[in-house]
């Protein structure tokens, strides 16, 4: 019998182990009246240190509140948010990114003018278009702390060697084609063709002057202007032959890699990579320009991340105050001076350029300022990520001449317009 007892004890021990492993601490919502929890992604110790600096600012401004921050890596953050949302455990203040928002609007409180006032924020303090970053179907679900848009990066050495004109602020699609053609020489290509959603759509959107999603969030991939501009983009590979066809559908960063390995003279990528391209490994002289202008001028998408308020937050006023601190002048100045990203608050933006190498500072500043003049918040449909997943492998067929852009866009529209 004693032995049997040992057996049962073993079972009990294992069971309790399993149970304790499952029962992690879960504190969301905010239990007491003046406690506010912030959830945010963090990829490294640097990220966490920067977040803690912002947390310290919020604590200093609101000593009466008990503010805590929880972090998770980018990939896990959104999985965690899904489960937190499902179990009603979302943190009162949660980080959100413009590209992810459409899947999580259900968990966030739409912010009103009055909410911003409670937070001590004024829409006029933010850069034009910035408050559209975390908007979905006309509702604002968060306030951004940084903003980014797409630019054309170029290899100045390669353009010079080919005698091609250098892209500059105010250039047009004719200029773009000329430069791309002139730079396609001696085994080098004019452009690294894009595979990622933002990277391939930036030029067609700017050329057509429309987004492939309407204002109310309806998928509009078959908009004639957008189709025409997208066909033009595909033709850069198959007809104009100024870009190399993509080698495999698994090369998600094809165009950018072609550019940074000095195989292509230009590529479209986000402002977030500006510093990376300026300090590229092969050591070529890199430059940047806003997207070229089409008949209706130039149109770029403004992207970015920010903080929002959870729908089921119990102490909203306290949370809004924290939100105000996280996006206030002090916190935004900190983001800018640390050079981590381009802040959304107008008065903090100039500080960002001071972190850039003096050699490039003026170019980066003027390009950023020009690029952010012609931006619109990115509109996404409900299943926008599915659209991207479907289109990407099909782009390979388009670039290799086995399929047409119009057919691929039409097929995506048929499948995902529901």
């Amino acid at each position: 019998m004693k032995k049997a007892h040992i057996g049962f004890m073993a079972v009990a021990a294992v069971a309790s182990l399993a149970l304790s492993a499952c029962g992690g601490a879960s504190t969301g919502g905010g239990a007491s009246e003046n406690s506010v929890v912030i959830d945010m992604w963090s990829g490294s110790e640097d990220d966490t240190a920067a977040l803690n600096a912002q947390l310290a600012i919020a604590k200093e401004e609101h000593p009466e509140l008990d503010i805590t921050m929880r972090t998770a890596p980018w990939g896990d953050y959104f999985t965690k948010m899904t489960t937190n949302m499902a179990s009603g455990n979302m943190a009162c203040i949660s980080g959100m990114n413009s590209g992810q928002l459409s899947g999580y609007t259900a968990g966030f409180q739409a912010l009103s003018e009055a909410d911003l006032k409670t937070a001590g924020l004024d829409a006029a303090d933010f850069a034009p278009g910035a408050l559209e970053i975390l908007q979905n179907k006309g509702e604002m679900y968060g306030v951004p702390f940084d903003m980014s848009t797409m630019l054309v990066y170029y290899n100045a050495d390669q353009l010079k060697a080919a005698g091609a004109k250098t892209p500059e602020i105010g250039w047009t699609f004719e200029d773009f084609e000329q430069t791309a053609k002139a730079a396609t020489t001696k085994g080098k290509m004019g452009l690294g063709i894009g595979m990622g959603d933002f990277q391939w759509q930036a030029l067609p959107i700017s050329r057509a002057g429309v987004q492939p999603v309407t204002e109310d969030g309806t998928l509009d991939l078959t908009n004639p202007d957008f189709v025409k501009a997208s066909e033009w983009y595909g033709d850069l590979v198959t007809v104009q032959k100024v870009a190399a066809p993509v080698a495999s559908a698994s090369d998600a960063g094809w165009g950018e890699n072609q550019f940074s390995s000095a195989n292509a003279a230009m590529a479209v990528d986000g402002t977030w990579n500006a510093v990376g391209y300026l300090n590229n490994d092969p050591g070529f002289e890199a430059g940047m320009a806003p997207l070229p202008a089409g008949k209706n001028g130039s149109l770029g998408l403004v992207l970015g991340s920010g903080f929002g308020l959870a729908k089921d937050c119990k102490n909203k006023d306290a949370a809004l105050k924290v939100l105000g601190s996280l996006l206030g002048q002090k916190s935004q100045d900190y983001i800018a001076t640390s050079g981590r990203s381009y802040p959304a608050r107008l008065s903090s933006q100039p500080l960002y350029f001071e972190t850039i190498d003096a050699k490039y500072r003026n170019q980066v500043k003027s390009t950023f300022e020009a690029a952010f003049e012609n931006v619109q918040g990115q509109r996404v449909s409900d299943n926008w990520s599915k659209v991207g997943t479907f289109i990407q492998p099909n782009l390979v067929s388009v670039y290799n001449g086995q399929d047409t852009m119009a057919k691929v866009l039409d097929s995506a529209q048929q499948q995902f317009a529901k």
Binding site: F8, A10, A106, A247, N394, Q402
Partner: protein, 303 residues
């Protein structure tokens, strides 16, 4: 009387012992229930639900299965791709690795080194393998570079052409998996009974006759094992197309498992993914059972 007392004693002993046994196996049982039985049962249930990763779950009966076969644009192509891959991969892999094992079985110099060489791709991480193959196959890569330099001939864009992409996925997979089957065959060949071989030789068997009539039947259990495992792994192929071709161009190299992955984790439709998973399971069971039936005709076991 004594016997009944003994019996009773034995009974209580047996009961106590079985309780103890239960205690000792329970960690394994709990693990099995938690990580195998529960997910399997859950996936059966999921297959009958419209089950998004977040939001309302709705019972839909056989709708997911009907949707797969009638309206999903990628399901039939995925089935076709898996079939094409399996039909090309299994015979080529088994025959090539058997040939290799046979040729390395002869007493040639450096055969141990050669075996290690052929086994290296099996133990190298697939990501590294794929990276090397991409560098060889892409238009700016080695193959096209050599072809242009020597013959001035532009090779196709292998990984972006629907037919070539599948061929390349198969070739890369064969190269990668060759060493594993070769090792199985080599081990079997090393254990060929000397007495039988000697008898065969005394009877005048040599060359192809010896190979075909004696060696191959003797190692047929290993060939059977290798072909069953290779068939299953090829029906479950995922990493090679995912990394080498991304399932593209279009859906030309997207196998069933990648389809399941995309439905579940990119399109957040777990119900559809679970249904497709059970279809794959059914295919594997049927084909494996068929192999077990067929083996009675060609596999020889020594009794």
């Amino acid at each position: 009387m004594t016997t009944t007392v003994n019996d009773r004693g034995r009974n209580t002993m047996a009961k106590a012992e079985s309780r103890q046994a239960l205690g000792f196996v329970s960690p394994a049982l709990i693990g099995l229930a938690l990580f195998t039985v529960l997910p399997v049962a859950l996936s059966i249930v999921m297959g009958f639900y419209d089950w998004p990763t977040y939001g309302e779950k709705k019972f839909v009966g056989f709708d997911n299965y009907a949707k797969l076969f009638t309206s999903s644009p990628d399901f039939w192509p995925a089935l076709r791709n898996t079939a094409v891959f399996t039909i090309l991969y299994v015979p080529v892999s088994v025959i090539l690795s058997l040939t290799l094992a046979l040729s390395l079985h002869e007493r040639i110099r450096g055969r141990a080194a050669l075996r290690i060489l052929f086994f290296i791709p099996v133990v190298t991480p697939m990501v590294a393998n794929v990276l090397v193959w991409k560098m060889i196959l892409q238009p700016q890569g080695m193959l096209n570079g050599l072809s242009m330099e020597w013959f001035g001939f532009q090779l196709p864009n292998f990984l972006a052409d629907p037919q070539w992409a599948m061929v390349m996925v198969v070739i890369m997979s064969v190269w990668q998996g060759l060493g594993y089957n070769m090792l199985i065959f080599s081990a079997a060949l090393e254990q060929l009974p000397d007495s039988v071989m000697e008898a065969a030789k005394l009877d005048g068997a040599s060359g192809l006759t010896l190979l075909w009539k004696v060696k191959v039947p003797l190692i047929s259990p290993s060939i059977f094992f290798a072909s069953v495992m290779t068939l299953i792994s090829s029906l479950q192929v995922f990493v090679q197309p995912q990394l080498l071709t991304g399932g593209g161009p279009g859906n030309a190299t997207q196998p069933l498992v990648q389809f399941i992955y995309n439905q579940g984790f990119k399109f957040q439709d777990l119900g559809l993914a679970a249904a497709a998973g059970w279809i794959l399971f059914a295919i594997i069971i049927v084909l494996t059972a068929a192999q077990f039936v067929a083996q009675k005709k060609w596999v020889h076991y020594e009794h």
